[in-house]
Assembly symmetry: C2
Homo-oligomer: 293 residues x 2
Amino acid sequence: MDRQIISNSFKSIQDNISSKLSIISSQDYQEDKWVYDSGSGGGITRIFSDGDIEKAGVNFSSITGKLSDDISSKVIGKGKDFYATGVSVVIHPKNPFVPTMHMNIRYLERNNQKWFGGGIDLTPYYISKNDIIDYHLKLKSLCDRYDFVNYKNFKDSCDKYFFIKHRNETRGVGGIFFDNLESNLDQTFKFVTENGKTFLDIFLPLFNNFNKKNYTNKHREFQLYRRGRYVEFNLVYDRGTLFGLETNGRIESILMSLPPYSSWKYNWKPELNSEEAKLYEFLKPTEWINFDE
Amino acid sequence: MDRQIISNSFKSIQDNISSKLSIISSQDYQEDKWVYDSGSGGGITRIFSDGDIEKAGVNFSSITGKLSDDISSKVIGKGKDFYATGVSVVIHPKNPFVPTMHMNIRYLERNNQKWFGGGIDLTPYYISKNDIIDYHLKLKSLCDRYDFVNYKNFKDSCDKYFFIKHRNETRGVGGIFFDNLESNLDQTFKFVTENGKTFLDIFLPLFNNFNKKNYTNKHREFQLYRRGRYVEFNLVYDRGTLFGLETNGRIESILMSLPPYSSWKYNWKPELNSEEAKLYEFLKPTEWINFDE
């Protein structure tokens, strides 16, 4: 695999996602180019704010550097030199009926070892079971186009990764999560870039269907409350975030994932049989697709 | 020292603080009694919300249990059995001109080893240098009444503890922080309980002076933004919080410290020479009291 080809492809995924988000929300984005001080290369951070997309970050980076001793043992492969390129997207829509959505794709090299990782996951506030199933069917369809990709395995990894232990809840309704994909690099590259396309195939309809839906203060308050869980996950458990904090990464790019507004209410519980209570039924590992049918 | 005497004294500090907060804010508090499932004893959590005190928690607990292997090595002393009693207070006022304030006092036993710990710290949004100095003079005056207590040492420990490494900022304008006070237990007990009194001597005037001050949406937005830092510190660094999460403590009592509303804005910086910029000058370890005078 050629770094430059992968990195160019990732860059164009950033371009495509940011331009599509710009069109659907009629918002411009703010762009920051940054350089990686501890090595070479850098990145481009694009931020949407204060519109129907209340906050979104679309990050691209391509960097080379040396792994610290601390990090060295947490990553596969040997040697200090590394190359990493990736795209990372987090969208926090304003309307509580549009889910928060996240995608990350990355390619790493450590000496002769080369691998891809990434994933897509969805964190709704109000959602129907049908929309969750539809979402998972799109992910399964993506996975099924590659004979070496097993949707079920990637889905289970996602449930396991995005789990808020102290709340005994998943962060959202799952998705796919994968790492250390080392074999079949050409095909894996195709699969990974197709994640960028599938991300939009999922998010754009959700946005278009629900962005204009009327909501009340109660809906908004629930959204802010649940965004608190997003913060709890990212600051307590998310490996990417903690990795970034430990390695003195660019703090504003790392924490762009945090929501624009969030709240914590003491011991808040949804009312029985309420719209809000319904979400909690979904926040556990679930077989969304019935494989027997 | 007798556990029961200390625990009763701590309980009355909780009563005193919650009743004073109730009077100044004209708010009732919500009370939850809880039992410590993994041992014996329990606690009382009191919560203020939705008033001039936008959110506050006043926690009391008195528990016995067994330390896990994981925690065992992080605490002084030997053996598994422990007893712990403490009071913990966090106040998030609604008015951005009233600082957020925190106090914790605790007493621990592990076999024959007995010690006190605790501290007071202040996290303002808008504050004058004079008010910070006044605050530190009150803490120094408290410390100076005990010949074994050194304000400067406790202040330095506080600066060191409440430091947000990834932001290169202190959480607030410091205070005092102490742990493992094992000698002179009778006098230390007096000092620790006096922290509860000093806490009110500091907070009540700040509340009375600034609670009615007019504020704009800009002030409120800055408060929410800075509260994001409070969340970052508590979830990424605070030993008490992480200890609680790791030991399956009562999650709502542990996370009562998190603010009612907070926000994150990408790469936000205060305008040069603005009221907001002034705060940033204070968010570093500072000798607030000129010892030469």
